[in-house]
């Protein structure tokens, strides 16, 4: 065993900074990564195959388990796709409720992503637990609405499953009141921290050309300076009626991705406030047949999930179950550039880069 020779290092499947059962086999020379092989599939459940045997409604819980940190967003994407396929129009109140919950989920997911990124940069879990404080409150709101915290299964084809309880709105308002201050607090703590900047600035730079070519989406794409947000470009759930802006980074490094997430949290707060103001009364759900049989056809419907472009490609053959359902998983596709980013950099930089791309292994493996 010598220092000058290339050797192999297994990062994962059990490793503090792989965020799950994700494995990277790296060939290292000293502290420098010379080759990288990404090995996924430890959490593969073949959801796409399983969903061919279940009805359209029964497939909703699978979407929870794909991206378990953004279950609401995944529910939403799937339900919108099936509604498009089956021509179901949800009531107005359901649409606004969906926006509220999807944006709350985005805040929770971004809090988790940024917390783990700072943890990967070596802060001893303090920022992570600070961010968890807000995430816990959001999960409490989810729990009082639909009984589950992580795998919510809240959205339904043609609406949402439950009306939020009465005590939901004061708690939500309280949370919205304190969230901007909390976000500013984290920005004070982290965005000007010399060590944090030294660890993330100019680490894992993705050029806009590469980001577009490698099909990156979400904060990973916007961090590179590409202003692409499906909520603006292809509005769903009446997002065109809300006023919000899309933050984009300057250089495309890990720090920019971190900051883009921070700013998106602020924008999400704005959206939730507007949605609460114009929450119409009425039904939260339309009646749909128990075994929905859409007309034969196909749909590729995309929403802007917390991790990026979350697409559902569904083909119906007129039966009660989808003929084929494919999830366009942003976590997997955002990893396309991992090898290019990591090779030539050092191990700590690779860990920070991986943390800034923000993967969820449930969604990678499906």
């Amino acid at each position: 065993m010598t220092v000058e020779e290339q050797y192999e290092l297994n990062i994962g499947p059990q490793h503090p900074s792989t965020h799950g059962v994700f494995r990277i086999k790296v060939a290292m020379n000293g502290e420098t990564i010379e080759d990288l092989d990404m090995i996924v599939g430890y959490l593969h459940r073949s959801m796409e195959k399983l969903s061919e045997e279940r009805t359209f409604t029964q497939n909703i819980p699978f979407t929870d388990r794909a991206d378990y940190l953004a279950a609401m967003s995944n529910n939403l994407g799937y339900c919108l796709a099936i509604e498009k396929l089956a021509n179901v129009i949800p009531p107005q109140r359901a649409t606004v409720l969906r926006v509220i919950f999807a944006e709350l989920q985005r805040i929770a997911s971004h809090a988790m992503a940024n917390g783990t990124l700072v943890s990967d940069a070596g802060a001893w879990q303090t920022p992570l637990l600070y961010m968890f404080r807000e995430r816990e409150k959001i999960l409490d709101l989810f729990e009082m609405t639909c009984g589950a915290r992580l795998t919510t299964n809240y959205m339904r084809i043609g609406g949402v499953a439950f009306e939020p309880p009465d005590e939901f709105y004061p708690l939500l308002n309280e949370l919205l009141g304190e969230l901007p201050d909390k976000v500013d607090e984290y920005m004070d703590l982290l965005s000007t921290n010399e060590i944090f900047i030294a660890r993330t600035k100019e680490v894992g730079i993705i050029s806009p050309e590469d980001a577009i070519n490698a099909s990156l989406s979400g904060p990973a794409l916007r961090g590179s300076g590409v202003p692409w947000d499906l909520r603006k470009a292809e509005p769903y759930c009446d997002y065109e009626n809300y006023s919000f802006d899309v933050p984009v980074g300057n250089t495309g490094d890990s720090y920019d991705r971190f900051m883009v997430r921070m700013f998106e949290v602020k924008e999400s707060i704005k959206i939730i406030k507007q949605a609460l103001n114009e929450l119409p009364s009425g039904m939260h759900k339309t009646q749909i047949p128990l075994a929905l049989r859409p007309e034969p056809g196909q749909v590729y419907y995309r929403t802007e999930g917390p991790r990026g472009e979350l697409g559902y490609f569904v083909i119906s053959d007129g039966g009660p179950a989808p003929y084929r359902m494919h999830i366009r998983a942003p976590s997997l596709i955002n990893l396309s550039l991992l090898k290019q980013l990591a090779v030539g950099s050092s191990l700590p930089d690779a860990v920070v880069t991986l943390g800034s791309i923000d993967i969820v292994v449930g969604e990678i493996d499906r």
């Binding site: 065993m1 010598t2 220092v3 000058e4 020779e5």
Partner: protein, 181 residues
């Protein structure tokens, strides 16, 4: 038989800590283990220096031998690959042991033949040097100043030399060796 005072007891312990690991280096096959034994032996020598009331030298011994030269050796072992981990005896094993035993015999003969008491004399009564550091410092920067300066120059040259020797595989030195083939 020697009296078992605290001093004598310490002396025997330190001698054992010095000699046994040193012997171990000769008979252990793993280079890493022999390095560990070498460090132990250095620590034992430092203990002997303490018993000789040379406190500064003892600390310097710990600092330079146990703390620095051992690290250098570690790096050397790490920079040369696995075949260098073994620490086998060479074909001169018998010759070496013969030579060592002969040397030891001669030395013990010398030590016992000479009446060392006439050398040691009244110094035995004087148990301790008090505060060696200041006097060593005065000596180094006074009486032995030229030697001191030369030693620092030597260190500098050693530093530069070591760097220039290992700097690159295709150094001038290396090329010359290849040319002479």
């Amino acid at each position: 038989m020697i009296e078992l005072t605290a001093y004598n007891f310490s002396f025997i312990m330190m001698t054992l800590i010095t000699i046994l690991p040193a012997l171990g280096i000769a008979f252990v096959n793993s280079l890493m283990r022999s390095l560990l034994l070498l460090i132990l032996s250095f620590i034992g020598v430092a203990g002997l220096f303490v018993l000789l009331s040379a406190d500064f030298i003892a600390i310097a011994q710990l600092l330079i031998y146990a703390g620095s030269i051992s690290i250098l050796l570690l790096f050397a072992v790490m920079l040369t690959p696995e075949i260098s981990i073994n620490n086998e005896n060479s074909k001169y094993f018998l010759l070496a042991s013969l030579g060592a035993i002969l040397f030891l015999y001669l030395m013990i003969l010398l030590i016992t033949i000479f009446d060392l008491n006439q050398l040691t004399g009244n110094a035995l009564n004087k148990l301790d040097f008090d505060n060696t550091i200041e006097q060593i410092g005065t000596l180094l920067l006074g009486k032995y100043i030229i030697a001191f300066e030369l030693a620092s120059v030597l260190l500098l040259f050693a530093l530069i030399g070591a760097i220039s020797i290992v700097r690159s595989s295709e150094s001038d030195f290396d090329v010359k060796i290849k040319d002479s083939k």
